[in-house]
Symmetry: C2
Subunit: 286 residues, 2 copies
């Protein structure tokens, strides 16, 4: 990449390029192999991984269950994206975009698919009429929910890729995406200077969505970039991120489909509330 170049008239695929995730990035969609998805007994079947986009949804499920919505029981199956599970035919049927998380909702008369983490959050929150905030604040909640979806690609696909995953470190893209990420943190910080949660007094799916990315970034958990982005300087984001992080449902949500980091936080699949205790005891016993 180092030198300026002249692009060809028509782009072609060089399968050797692409950095850490070269093996899972392709210019074509669709399945690469036949593979059915497992289906459990609960109304909701989640196929995911504990990346920020995955954590959004498991946090919501755990918050719904903690709030007494016993109909929100779910099976969480692991999709290992490094192994290409997202390109199996069954997964592509649920999410033609081959990204986690993907949801099969069996709670109604016909099973339906829902993909994109923001859509899954809104679908579930509306189904249970929970974590939507006040009706009068619906537009504000939607604004922040969509803000997260349109903003985080600059953090993840931009900053995270070029700072942590690209084959070399280049200044221009790191500068470009670090600047935008810091601007986004400042947008949040100014909003949270005036409000307890993103849309006001109520903890909503907009908080869950934004926390999974920007809250965890502020807590130093993404890309080892806390110092580089001076995340400690966003005091209101810190206060809010820590408050959400202290919720037991959020800890459980972080554990589900987690295959990296501290062993005691890894619950590779979740099928029952008791799985968390078993997992913790197993790991502590190791």
């Amino acid at each position: 990449m180092a030198d300026t170049y002249t692009p060809p008239k028509v782009w072609t695929w060089d399968k050797e390029s692409g950095g850490k995730f070269a093996s899972i990035n392709r210019p074509i969609a669709g399945p690469t192999h036949d593979k059915d998805l497992p289906v459990g007994t609960h109304p909701f079947q989640l196929y995911s991984l504990a990346t920020p986009n995955g954590v959004k949804v498991t946090v919501l499920f755990e918050e719904l269950l903690a709030a007494g919505h016993s109909d929100a029981e779910y099976d969480a199956w692991l999709i290992n994206i490094g192994d290409g599970n997202q390109f199996g035919s069954g997964f592509v049927d649920v999410n033609p975009n081959s990204k986690i998380p993907a949801l099969l909702d069996k709670s109604g008369p016909e099973p339906i698919r829902v993909f994109e983490s923001g859509a899954i959050l809104l679908h579930l929150a509306e189904k249970f009429d929970a974590f939507l905030g006040n009706t009068a604040q619906r537009a504000e909640m939607l604004s922040w929910l969509f803000w997260q979806m349109g903003s985080a690609p600059y953090l993840g696909g931009g900053f995270g890729h070029f700072y942590a995953y690209a084959p070399e470190k280049w200044q221009y893209p790191i500068d470009r995406f670090a600047m935008e990420t810091k601007r986004q943190l400042d947008v949040l910080d100014r909003n949270l200077a005036e409000r307890e949660f993103m849309t006001g007094d109520h903890y909503t799916i907009a908080d869950m969505a934004i926390w999974a990315w920007y809250g965890q970034l502020a807590l130093g958990r993404l890309y080892d970039a806390g110092e580089f982005l001076d995340v400690a300087s966003y005091a209101n984001v810190q206060r809010w991120a820590q408050a959400i992080d202290a919720r037991p449902a959020v800890l459980r949500g972080r554990m589900v489909n987690r295959t990296f980091g501290e062993p005691e936080l890894q619950l590779h699949e979740r099928h029952d509330a008791g799985d968390f205790d078993t997992q913790t005891q197993d790991k502590i016993g190791e």
Copy 2:
């Protein structure tokens, strides 16, 4: 940028870097100057520019009016982002993220703000109960609407920036984002092989959102990249993009807040349905 470098411990802002849009990209949020927004007489006040994100919303307004929703009358005010209008205090009050489009909804008991194009689309479609598709397909519609919001940053902020706007052309980021853009086009092409519109038989806000970016890309209108991305090869996207492009409301939506391209398509502000005719006659007469 050309050479690999060692990032500093803490990122700092070099105001000279950034390419074509350096002057409007900042690492901090908030207003740069005091400036009230104009407010017209219609229930909806839109502050926007005819980029793809802006066009989504003006297309919806024009479709609503064409479908007989006379309560959807709107004033569309021009926000010139090259001049920094998005950093005026009035604009920041409506959208703290300083991006177009932003909406002030005066149709209810209290004026409310809505920002992020996807949130504006959903807010308006729900208010008028229009262009949402079948109730049974709501989850599918939401999935594709959120898909657009999470995907287009790779097209616009990734591919478009590095292919068209960055100060030099570098192969690695162009390859990275061209590959992802082509994958996204293929996702759409496979879906549209089986359906007239993105979610089935009904034209919805998901189509409007996706068309503004990927439809216009397929029609060769973005970044002069039609040949490079071989957009002609996505036959189903072509069929769908052309069908939507032929709708009179879509042409009107493209014209509103447009300050570039063909003069006869530029209606800098829109306050009345008659503005389109006047504009066209003025320009033809020039």
